[in-house]
Symmetry: C2
DNA sequence: ATGCAAATGCAAATGGTTCGCATTTGTGTT
DNA sequence: AACACAAATGCGAACCATTTGCATTTGCAT
């Protein structure tokens, strides 16, 4: 995976401390983060940061496809993750909200069949799995 | 599919004009509707209706699983649809937002495989397809 | 018909997100 | 290294979907 610096260079974005910090935090996170999650983590290191800046940086990143905005049922805020290059799907833990990526896709063949059956020109699909990660599974069964 | 009256009876909910109207509108709609969409449609027939009542009715219905709340990328409002009894998936037109249901599910076998591979206890999945419905496909190609 | 919990209307409050504007900063150019 | 200027930022106010408090009305069991 590219470094935060490279990501900014690649998209002709100015390298600011805040942008780099947001990319770094997202990169190291194993779950989705809200603008406010990021804002609070950033405050721990840099007193001088504004929530609207976080929103504006995220907006820019989403526009450039560096970051994806995600809507999950367990939060009414928009959450963010580093965008994934390859097509894949997610395992989302309903308990701790950790996210694991799966590269395989069981759907593509099926797509052609329903495209035909419903006369629908399918462009893409969204598939996520919900359940308990191994840690939460162990913890909750004890 | 049950009648609006039956749905309310089944869940011990008082039969009010507004509740019946919301169920009827949702039943007849071929796409998701926001609280405000419903509010405006209801105003056409009944001057005296409040948006907060619409929200409260929807909240009750979602709690009883009569209605599902849906988050779609093309709207930042929460949208609603009549809940579906059987497990299935949706074809969502990115142009006109019409929704078509597919009963088949290509994912269930796959679930066992990844459950094992990732030591994740998968409880359910969410799969939607996005593309163009037959009408929009025809319209946009002309 | 009566009583009371549940449902409603209305206005105000909330909370996440966006915007306006004055100030600062990154970076290409001298 | 200083300069110039567009882009980025901080701060507060605005925005908009949704929720809530409260007084009033309504559905329905008795
Ligand atoms: Mn796929
Ligand atoms: Mn399925
Ligand atoms: Zn977990
Ligand atoms: Zn369409």
């Amino acid at each position: 995976m590219k470094t935060p610096e490279k990501m900014l260079e690649l998209h002709n974005l100015k390298k600011t401390g805040h942008r780099l910090m947001i990319l770094t935090i997202l990169k190291e996170s194993d779950r989705f983060l809200s603008a406010d999650d990021l804002y609070m983590k950033m405050k721990e290191e840099d007193e001088n940061i504004s929530l609207s800046t976080v929103y504006r940086i995220l907006e820019t990143f989403v526009l450039k496809s560096i970051v994806s905005a995600v809507n999950v049922e367990f939060s009414k805020k928009v959450l963010y993750e580093l965008a994934h290059e390859a097509h894949g799907h997610r395992l989302i833990c309903t308990n701790c909200h950790k996210v694991v990526y799966v590269e395989d896709c069981p759907v593509h063949n099926f797509e052609d069949a329903i495209s035909e059956e419903y006369d629908f020109d399918i462009k893409r699909h969204k598939l996520d799995f919900y359940g308990l990660c191994s840690e939460c599974k162990a913890e909750l069964s004890s």
